[in-house]
Symmetry: C2
Subunit: 202 residues, 2 copies
């Protein structure tokens, strides 16, 4: 009697590899594999080449730790940016969001993660010493902590705040409050409580 | 003023390629790309190689149309299987489910899809002529239609049933009824109605 699932080896290997993507289980992986092989061979080739190129050509920017093709990324080497302010974010996606607000002209440091004791991610894993060296370059005056407003992001911000203040840097955190364009009725109570506590005189 | 999203080219290309996977939007694609590049470089390499190997080594079995490394897949070339029964399924995943029931010893034909007029998928796209040639090999006596019990699967079964009966083949469909192990209270009314109509004397 044979195995119940007579899948050819290359298909099995492809499904196994797709399962390593975050949020992809065996059923989705199988659906993706069938789709690529049956309906989108050129998509499969494109993805294979993009993966090889990304692994080969991308590295971490020596200054901001974000993904970069060059030793120093275009943002960090842009002379028009204000080198006296450094914004610390968890991921490149967060950096993109801040850039798209057009409200920031300083530089960035990308942690590529956040403190998560439950997952065993501590200060060493995030190379906080690298951030401290970067922030202590003599040009940076203020560090804006723009980690997420989640439990883990807040912990990270608190921890970094202590370290950076000890270096004599001025440290700030993004303001908490009511989101732009929202009606108070639909804002959660925790946000309202924060917005009250941090109210500003006009 | 620069673009708001200064993503390096290889990263952009990788995100673009990941978006071609079914069910993956730009946010998931970005999350997948960051994950692979930051936490699972070996996973990225493995996926790249698996894609290349699958595109290079897999083809459609000349008899059952499923994915295969060889001209004819191991299932179709297994002399122990009953060549007088042909089971028609929509996808290799459906074939796997039927195999894992251990209730079938015949051969398969994999449509790699189903009739879906709304998506513009007609009989030509599914190469029904190939199935008719396969079923008309002189050995096949009975064709079991095991397409899904969805509107599209039922349409496909109905359409194929007409074509195959016209060739003088005996055609059957998987039984509809109450799922094994289920309590009637929790079975949907449509299923109960079918199970009543197709009741068997004991």
């Amino acid at each position: 009697m044979e195995a119940p699932l007579p899948e050819p080896e290359p298909l099995k290997a492809l499904i196994e590899a797709l399962r390593r993507l975050p949020g992809v289980g065996v059923r989705s992986a199988r659906r993706m594999a069938y789709h690529l092989l049956q309906h989108d061979i050129s998509g499969a080739e494109q993805l294979g080449q993009a993966l090889a190129a990304a692994v080969r050509d991308l590295r971490h920017c020596a200054r901001c730790n974000g993904f970069s093709e060059a030793e120093v990324c275009p943002t960090c080497s842009n002379p028009k940016r204000d080198a006296s302010v450094l914004c610390v974010v968890e991921t490149p996606a967060d950096q993109n969001m801040i850039e798209s607000s057009h409200g920031y002209r300083g530089l960035y440091y990308v942690l590529m993660g956040r403190l998560a004791p439950l997952e065993g991610i501590g200060p060493q894993d995030l190379q906080f010493d690298r951030l401290l060296r970067r922030a202590g370059d003599g040009q940076v005056q203020e560090v804006i902590l723009a980690t997420n407003f989640t439990a883990e992001g807040e912990t990270t911000a608190h921890y970094l705040s202590e370290l950076l203040r000890a270096q004599g840097l001025s440290v700030s955190r993004l303001a908490r409050g009511v989101p732009a364009g929202s009606e108070l009725e639909y804002v959660d109570a925790g946000t309202i409580a924060w917005a009250l506590m941090e109210r500003r005189s006009t």
